[in-house]
Structure formats: structure tokens, C-alpha cells
Symmetry: D3
Subunit: 192 residues, 6 copies
């Protein structure tokens, strides 16, 4: 199939996908009500699809000292720094749900300094942005800053690895010109 | 184990690794004569190890319009832009081998413009660097430039995806403070 | 009064404002249902309030070759480049209304290149961003680019002047730490 | 009229101006001996002329904890950072007069760090440059730095607002290609 | 001697200098009426003094396709990009003299694009700034641009070498904190 | 002669050189076994050749608180920041010899932060990079940092002057398109 609202590249219909790829798409469709475009766009390359979601599951679904809402904050902040529309909009939606806060995604995306983050979360975002934007400057002192806010070394890996995975994801989305599904723009906004 | 020449983080001995992770390490050891530190460092997180090498295999080992030497050039050029010592040194070695050119890695790492690359390869490197450094500016015109040098749209995905995977890899190596094995500095230099 | 959700600075209640300032606040309250925080925050300095809104009216309300929706697009794009939460969120709401498009503000804010803008509008945004970010490089050639899309010299002034006014506005909002009213986050989203 | 030494845009002769705009031009002509080109250039748009000078008067003429010479220093430093020829040259002249120092303008324009500014003035310039160049990073700590040099919160507003107004002014001057009057280059130099 | 208006470092009096260094200082004093501070500051290191002025003479005094006024333009433009007060002010004075234009130095220093330079001179300045700021990007195409304005390859060397010499000079002046002599601020201004 | 592996510019054969220039080339040939290309390339301009090597000798050969290996580290680190292939490769070779460390040059070139430098050497490199990249920000505090690591003010001059000389040298090498001799790539690698 070809649909510029999904990707610059062609992608298979659900019927054309390898069984495991289709199963994953159907699983998310069941849960969300629709198949997020990144699933369709990456299905163009089944091996890359499998590797990407294996990485995603390893970091985003597991138990961690970094809550799921916090991991989504990292995604939104670093994806905004990389100007990745797909990730800012789609993970913005997930962040609103996990944080139960209809405003948090827009605030983190525009300027995390104004988002009234607790000092712990702010230090987390700043470490993530350093990994995203100038990882060659990461040094022992950066880990000590995290430690001062109660983050362990394993937490630091989790924070940095989420930023690193979305460094990849942002570039793939920008390369393929992925567009966020219409639904993501509104999910979790819960207007008053 | 703990060895600052491998990683800031502890990592398992071969005996302590899950069987599939160990098998992969032994395979590369057999082929190269040593286990590259990235294998040890990522073994600290077996699920991430598996996902990373699945992604790596999907992009670096498959048949492609981009030769293996060219893929290594992309790795060296983008890793140098990200100041990732591990990837510049280790993939520099692989590039020297694949390209059968003892000088190419140093030249691409310092300034690809001076590396006497053919126009096709140069356009490939410039697309890869755009994905690495400002993927939000990727547009139709960038694909047309590649097309003018005979690269298909699938080739463009391959080029961009290698740059995107090493965007992740560079950040993980800088996060964990991975150090290149001593051997990599000399492999393929073949001094006269 | 003092309210960190409005400004870092104190500001007068409606009763304490000079009559003309109060009248302006009441006018916008009648129209919108609430007083946008920039009105309250700037009322701390009545002379600056008057000058700012005189400038605003001179550019944003008048007839122009640049439609009101287009002027709001310029505000959102340049305010996002300046990471001004107040202006991105509040003018994002106005842009959604004027453009009758619930998605346009988020798309322009994250990456205007992905917002499916017609070439004319895209050239308008790029001129505005050049004024916002590197006005010292503006030259005759920039006006000719606009001319090729049907913009007159007076249109160019309008585009550039909106970018220039929000260069001021973004800096004042960031200086005073202005926060967007809760309402702005949802206005014009019209979820399906 | 059309005169490339004034503006890229046409502008009215004194006779053609609205009475209040002409009165303002005549007033400055009487005081300075000539009409600064910014008055002529902005007279092309009388409403914007009125708003601009209302803002200017509100900030540059009023009593403040920031002396008039200091306000001109802020203008010269931030306008130099924005490479605005009109503002650097014209306000450089005014700064020389107010500061009674024939060298200060050139020194602040090239590199304020070498201008032998007292620590108080230096902190003022650094706050102004932060507002001019990266206002999204302004935080409580910036105000505390100013406080340590005796600046109140109202002083901080004054410093930041001058930087913000010239963010607008520099962009308008660069947009219209305004040129400084010949006189400004020499005023206040008082060669020995 | 120690004089913060000359240098952060001590420097010899004329009597204390080696004979050839003193001779050079006396020669410039005779010609200019004063000893420019760079002569005093560098005399702290006689061998470096000799090498610097040998380089200077080789580039700035010789016959060239680039006139002496043009060479001074290159110095002012690149020194302003490097924010070197000493070189902008002192070579600004020399530029005014050579170009017989009291305004040219200030205009080139603030924004060369607004200095009404003929296209040939503008291309010269842009090549010089590329050498000064991103010489690693210099390529054949840059020489062809110069060629289109009538500059030979030897002219290109002269332009680039002047930019390169002042890359050194700007850094030494900033390192030693050299201050321009009072006289330089006014020389060649010839106020009307 | 014309040889694109040496320079974009023609250069004299040894026979055609002025006697002193030839003597210098023969001297280095005797010592190294070959004439480094910078000697040939600069011989195109004998006066500049003489001045450059006089400067070089004044800084690189003399006794100093900065060891010869340390001076070469400064050259490699700053030349890498300037992406100068000639200087990174040729001085990398000299650094390996002087430091008796086959890995140090590659490590300093890619990311000095990962090169396990002692704190004293690291502060030296950071001062040198500040001179190389933003000398206008050099201030008293920078000298105090060096002082805390035991560097005198004269040492600071030596560090900064080496960075400044290679600011010139990197630009000349990039301008002339100088290529490192084949030998430099391997010298001092001493593979195990």
C-alpha cells in the first residue's frame, strides 16, 4: 500500500504482513482501536520491525525505577528536540494517559523548564537531553547529579537508553516521513 | 565483572551470560580472535543485547544496494560527527578490511570531504550525515539527490537506517563509556 | 495580585487597573470567556501594556495580504523556535480557530516542514523564521523568493513585522514566566 | 520617497506624514539636528510608528534603576549580537553621549567582556544577552544573580524589556534594510 | 613593564628589547606617532614577535591582486567574527585610511552584508569568512566562485592566508587580553 | 610541480627552492626519511614558509613547562576540532612517537574526554580548545583553572600560542588542500 499519511514508503496491508508482524499490529489495534502508523511504516521491513519492537519492549514495558509516565516524558522531550512530529504527537498522547495530565505533553514539548517538573524529573529530562544531543560530553559528574536525585546507575542506563532508542526512532520517522494517526492529537486531552 | 576498559557498567563473564548471548559472543570471538567490548557491555542487559544485534544484523549483514564497505563508511562518518570513540575505532577497523584501504577510515573520520570519495559515495555520506544531525530537514529533494547518483528509495532507507541505528549505538557507547578493544586500533592498517 | 500561573511578577486585579487597561481586559473577557494571562501580566506595566497592544492591533487585526490564520501560523512557528510556551499554546488555539483545522497548530509547532503547507505558505514561514532567527542575513533575494509566490513587498513587511513583534512577545513571556490559561490547551481541538 | 540610505521601503516626506508622526519627527530633528532614519522608515506605517515609539518611550525615557547610559549599553550589546547595523551605530552614538565615554560603544559592540565593565554592569549585560538570545532558558537563578548585584525584580524587567524591544527593533531594521544616518558614526567620539 | 591596557602579560620597555625588536617598534612609532600595543605585547616573546611580523610583512605589505584596503577589510570582517577587540579597532583604523572611507570599518565589522560592497569584494569577504570559520568545508567550488569575480588562484591564497594569519592574531590578542591604543578609535574618522 | 596529493597549488622541486628553504626540507628529510607535504606546499611561498617555520620553531622546539608530547596533544585536539586532515594525521604520528603511546592520537582526536588524560593534561586541552574555538571568552578565571593544575602564566601562553599557531596552520592546510604523506598514517603505531 501507499499512503502519504503513513509513510513515504509503501507498506503491506495486514493481510500481506508476516504472521508475527500482523499479530503485533492486531494486538495494538485491539488495545488502542487503531494501528499506529509506525507499525505500518516499519512493516515495510519486517526484520527491522521485529528488532525495533524488541528494543522498545525491552525498555518501555519492563519494570524500572523510571515510571512509564517518566519514560514517555523522556520520549516527548527528546523527540521535540529532534523535531520529530510522529513521536511528539503519538507519545504525547501516551504521556497524557500515563501521567493522567492533559497538559503535560504540550508543556514538556515546548519548554520542559516551564513544565513545573519536580527537581528529580527535571534532572532526568536534562540527562536524557544530554544523551540525545551531546552524548560525547557524558561524564561521571552527570551520573552523580542523577544520584543526588535518587537515581541508581541502572536508572541512568534506563533514562539514557530510552533517549538513545528514540534517537533512532526519530530519525527513522523523519526519514520515512511518518505521520501521526489522527487519533493521537486528541487522546488524553479530556477537555473541561 | 567490572572493567573500565570495557564499560562504566558491570557485565557478565561468558559463563554467566544467557546461552544465546554467549553463543553470539563466542561466534564473534571465533571470527575475530577476541570479543569486541560492545558485546560484553551490552550483555549487561540481555534483552537489549538481543534487540540491538537483531537490528544490526537486519541492516549490516543483509544484501543491499549499499556495499558492506559503504555501510561501514556511513558508520565511521556519523560516529565521528557524534564523537563516539568506540564506533569510530572499531568500525574504522572493519572499514579498512572491507574497503581493502588502510587509510580510508582515518580520512573519513577527520573530514570526509578530503577523502577522495567518488561523487556517488559522497552523496551517500551527506545523506547519512543529514539523517544523523538534522533529520527533521529531510525532504523529497534529498531523495532526488540520491536518485541522481543511482540510489533507489530502498537504498535511501538503508543509508538512513544505518545512520539511525548508529545514532542509538553512539549514544549507548557514550552512555556506558565503552572503550574500543586494543586490537581495533591496528586491524587493517597493513603498514608499508 | 500574585499568581505563579500568570506571571513571575505581581499584577493588578481588574479593579486596580487604569480604566483603559481594564476596558481592554473586559473586552477580551467578553469575547473569549476569560482574560488571557498576557493581559494580566502586562498590566503590571500599563504603559508597556498600551504600547504592546497598540502594536498588536496594528499588525494582527488590520487588513492584509496575509490572512489572519496565516499570521497566527507565523506566530506559532516563530514562537516554537523561541520555545515560548505562552505564545505557542495560546496562539496555537487561535490558529486552530482561524484555520478551522484542529491539527495545524501542533504540526506547525513541531516541524513546519511536515505540515503539508502549500508552497506559498511554506515560503511565508521560512521568511518569518529567517527574520526571527537570523534577520541580519535578510537580503534582496529573500524578497524575490516571496515575490515568486505572489507576496508583495507590503506583504513581506507584514510577515516580517509579525515575526519581529513576537520576537519581543516571546522574550517578555519568557522573562515574566507567563503561563497559558488552561482554556487555550483545548480551544479549537474539536475532537472526533 | 524612496532612498536606499534610509530603507528598502518607500517613506513619506515630512509633509506627507500624519500630524502626530510629523510632530515627533520635528521634535527629534530639533533636538538632534537631523531626523534619524528609523523615524522616516517606520513612518511608512504610521500605526506601527506610533506603537513603536510608545513602547520606546515607556522603556527608554522613564525613571528606572537602570540609568539611561546603561539602557543604551544593553541596546548596543544586544544589537551587536543581532548584527543590526542601524541600532549598533545609532545607539552607539547615544551611549557615547550618555556615558560621556567616546570608546564605550565600540568596546561593548565588539566584545563586552573586554570593556572593563564593573561587575554590576556586566551582570546586567549578561542577563540582557540571555533574554536576547535564549530567553527560554531564563529561570529563577538568573534573577538571583541580578539580585546579588543589587538589581530589584523591577530592574530585571527593565533590563529584559529593553532587550526584548530591541529584539523587535533589530529585526525591523534588518527587514527594512535601514541605514544609520551619517551623523551617528561620529557623534560623541570627541577625538583627542 | 606591566600595563593592563596593553596586555595581561608583562612586556619590555623599548630599552629592554633586543635591538631588532626595538628597531621595529621605533619604525612604527615614527610612522604612526605611537607604538601599537601588539608590538609591545608580543615583544614579551621576541622569537614569536619576529615570526609574527615576518608573516605579517609577507602577506600585508607585498604586491598582490588584493589591494591593501581589501586586505584590511578581510582583517576587520574576520576579526569581528572572532570578537577580537584589538584587531577590529586597530585594523579598522588602517582600513579607514587605506579605503579613504570613514564609515567602512564600522559597517564591515557589524554586518558586511549591509556595507554596499561591490560583488567582487563581497565574494572576497565570504571566502575569507569561510576560511576563518569553517575552513574544513573549503572546496573547488569556492575557488570557482572567486574565479567568477576575477580572482586568480594566487589571489585566493592571499585572501585565505590573511584570514588564517588573523585567526592566529585574534587568538593571541584574546589570550593576552591586548587592548587597542586610544588613538586607533579615532584615526581616519575625519568627522564632518 | 603539481601533485594533488600534496596541495591544490603548484610547488617547487627541491632544486627550484631558495637555498634556505631547500636546506630546511633536506634537514627534515634526513631526520624523517621523507619531506612532509606541508614543507613542499608552503615552499610555493618562500616568505610565508620562512615565517611559518620560524613561528613553529619558536613554539614547538623550545624548552617549556609544556612537554613536547603535550604540545602535540594540543595540536591533535585543536586540529581535530577544525577538521584538518593534514594536521591530525601528521601530528598524530609525532604525538605517538613523543608520548610513546600508539593509541593516544586516535583517542585525543575522536574525543579527548575518553582519553584517560590526567586532570592536568585535561585542563590543558580544555584551555587550548577554548583558545581555538571561542578565544573571545578567555578570562582571568581560565588562567586560574590552569594555575590550580600547576601551570604558570608562561605555560598558559605556550598552550594558547600552540592552539593559535595551528588555528593558522589548519586553515592554510584546508585552503591548500594539503594531504598527509602516506607514512604519517602508520608512524608510531607499533602494532602488537
Amino acid at each position: 500500500m501507499q499512503d502519504a499519511n503513513v509513510s513515504r514508503y509503501p507498506f503491506p496491508s495486514l493481510d500481506e504482513m508476516p504472521a508475527d508482524v500482523r499479530a503485533r499490529c492486531l494486538e495494538v489495534q485491539e488495545k488502542s482501536g487503531f494501528v499506529p502508523n509506525v507499525f505500518l511504516a516499519l512493516a515495510h521491513r519486517p526484520d527491522e520491525f521485529r528488532a525495533f519492537f524488541a528494543y522498545y519492549d525491552a525498555l518501555m514495558l519492563k519494570d524500572s525505577g523510571i515510571s512509564k509516565a517518566e519514560r514517555e516524558m523522556i520520549v516527548v522531550a527528546t523527540s521535540s528536540a529532534n523535531q520529530c512530529e510522529y513521536c511528539v504527537v503519538s507519545h504525547g498522547a501516551i504521556l497524557r494517559i500515563y501521567a493522567k495530565d492533559p497538559l503535560i505533553a504540550d508543556r514538556v514539548a515546548v519548554n520542559y523548564r516551564k513544565a513545573d517538573l519536580a527537581p528529580r524529573r527535571r534532572s532526568m529530562i536534562e540527562f536524557a537531553l544530554k544523551v540525545a544531543l551531546r552524548s560525547h560530553e557524558i561524564e561521571e559528574a552527570d551520573f552523580e547529579l542523577l544520584d543526588a536525585h535518587g537515581f541508581t546507575r541502572e536508572d541512568a542506563w534506563d533514562i539514557g537508553a530510552v533517549a538513545a532508542l528514540f534517537a533512532l526512532s526519530n530519525r527513522m520517522a523523519n526519514l520515512a516521513g511518518m505521520r501521526p494517526n489522527r487519533e493521537f492529537f486528541d487522546i488524553g486531552r479530556n477537555p473541561r
